[in-house]
Symmetry: C2
């Protein structure tokens, strides 16, 4: 069966996020001063062939650790969509 | 009050996603052949000062339409986190 896996990869909370800061400046120039903080990360969707949801999740975790996220600078969250 | 808004911006389903294709190739080289499709987009978190959740959501929508997403190539989803 094919499972749809959603992965969110964001810069660690303690690190500066220059891209987020740039977006924040842009929003303020557009008059959206109500936005006080922005952080920008990646959103990745995978289609995974696996027998069970748990197996699909473990494959997605392996993919994230090996290629998609850099643990020195990023954290990730994995969500399964049936 | 400050609201935490999560925004997912992904390439439209009908469009090619070269970054996703590159990641897919990388995963297959790593032996993760169970992954059959990858799409890569952006995940953005905003902190929005607003009186109500509905107001915060409408500010986030405006920000997304004006700056964060390109509707020609991308679609977005907004989720509020209390």
């Amino acid at each position: 069966m094919t499972y749809n896996v959603q992965i969110k990869v964001m810069p660690l909370k303690d690190l500066l996020d220059p891209q987020g800061k740039a977006v924040l400046g842009g929003l303020q120039n557009l008059g959206l001063g109500a936005v006080t903080d922005v952080r920008v990360g990646k959103h990745i969707t995978l289609q995974v062939d696996a027998d069970t949801e748990a197996q699909a999740k473990s494959i997605a975790e392996e993919a994230t650790k090996k290629l998609l996220a850099n643990p020195v600078m990023e954290f990730f969250e994995i969500e399964m969509i049936n």
